[in-house]
Amino acid sequence: MVPQVLFQNRKPDRITTLAEYQAGGGYSALSQVLTRQDPKGLQTLIDEALLLGRGGAAFPMGRKLATVADDAPHPRYLVCNADEMEPGTFKDRVLIHADPHQLIEGMLLAAYAIGADKGLIFIRPEYEGAARILEREIGLAREAGFLGANILGSGVAFDMVVHRSGGRYICGEATAQLNALEGKRPNPRKPPPYPTEKGLWGMPTVTQNVETLCCLPHIVNNGADWFKSLALTSGAAGTKIYQISGKVNRPGCYELPMGIKLSRIIEEYAGGMPAGSTFKACLPGGASTRFMTKDHYDIEMDIDTLRNAGHRLGTAAIMVFDDKTCLVAATVNLITFFARESCGWCTPCREGLPYILDILQRIENGQGQERHIGMLESMARHLWKAYCAFAPGAASPLESLLTYFGDEVRAHITEKKCPFGGREAT
């Protein structure tokens, strides 16, 4: 059994209660920093632990915290990003259902590190169950003295609320989320100013993903070296909640050491592929990452290794496709998602995606022409000119389809039909 850190209290059918969380050492990290550590020291610890954001962009948390100026005005905000709308991703839901106080304590620690006054958990409507759990448990934490005007008698004040979204993928993007939180149309904002200087309501704001925040109590309790030692690959740190779905026998969430091989995740944890299926490709970290092929089957799944291979770990939502699945059809599905969810703010994305979708659909339906491939390539490049990171994300599956599965795309064109017999998958 590999070390279970974030899932150490996970139970099959219910949450970990406040009493159970405390019995396992919960909230001791909070009292420790309140009595023995200054905010700067905590920032340094997080930096030394090499904690990279788990929401998709893998930005070093310590470095982000350091950009909140010492004399930055108040109120300062901490936003917990629980939007989790990246297709294939469901770890934040599982983390909240498993151990809500781990997140609450993580938020308290992050808040302490930047002197935040208020925390907001931004959550998608599909997770209403998780939202209710959090509201109830935040109330209990407040009663226990962990939240409020004078936390554990330390004089430190911090409180948090749950903010419900109306449901739209772009709201997961940190700056769009600020607009959503302010009750505005949620299009992204272009920095500068960066949110850590002028974010929510124009005040300093740090946004972190649920899983990133959940790591904090453990880093405080066990130290930066311990956190780094959890990873299998050098330079990486921590465990990772890998989510695996698609053509595997046991889809689900698995907490494994960062850097574990893809083949092991599929075979040892996800129960391998269904009988009669063989591995063809996967998206390693959600819909906005690039397809990986058989050549990557043994790759070590950490942020740097994937980056060096020209890929992105994203949210570590591994979606597995077998040899019977048409990847042109799969990409039609992915681009449909992006075209629908585009916030519409900028032209390359709003106009480009429906255009790409139209061409891809023609190819899938056997009406493609050789020149369409060049058109798709140049449209994929245009997406990089868009206003926010949504569109480059959308380009990833498309560009990697053309790069790795160009033969499959061409077969549609030359045979004038889908070699897999149409787009319906089973």
């Binding site: 294939g88 409507p125 109306g166 009750g183 779905s245 979606m319």
Partner: protein, 163 residues
Amino acid sequence: MSIPETLKTEWKCRIQQSDHPRELVVDVLLAIQGQIGYVDDQALREAADWLQVDPLEIEEIATFYTFIYREPVGRYVIHLCDSVICWLGGYDALRNHLCRKLGIALGGTTADGLFTLLPVCCIGYCDRSPAMLINGKVYGPLTEETLDRILSELRVAASDKEL
């Protein structure tokens, strides 16, 4: 259907207490929708009035979000996930089955006002794909048989409430 006075009083009070009333706009729209089923033009103007925001801006927000309905919907809104993992798990066949059983196309509402069928992006339950959400409840993994059972259970639940 009109907005109950109690709801209005409750929200006006919450709005007054908020440092930033605007941040409540989605909550207000969802609360109104919870009472009257969807956000009609009257509700839109009402929300704009409570929050002191231009109705056009409220419209901009109401039409932006997937779970705010600007048109009448059935008592049960079926959000069938059509993202990639559910597609891989047989979305097309399930959609066809539902359309046939309900006698409606995607986006339609049954004549008895019971069901609306809408596609939705990945609902974060890919481990239970193919999946759907009906009035906040998640169902999955779905087959044609489980779909039939769920529909008839909801029909029974609806007629029980009528009695």
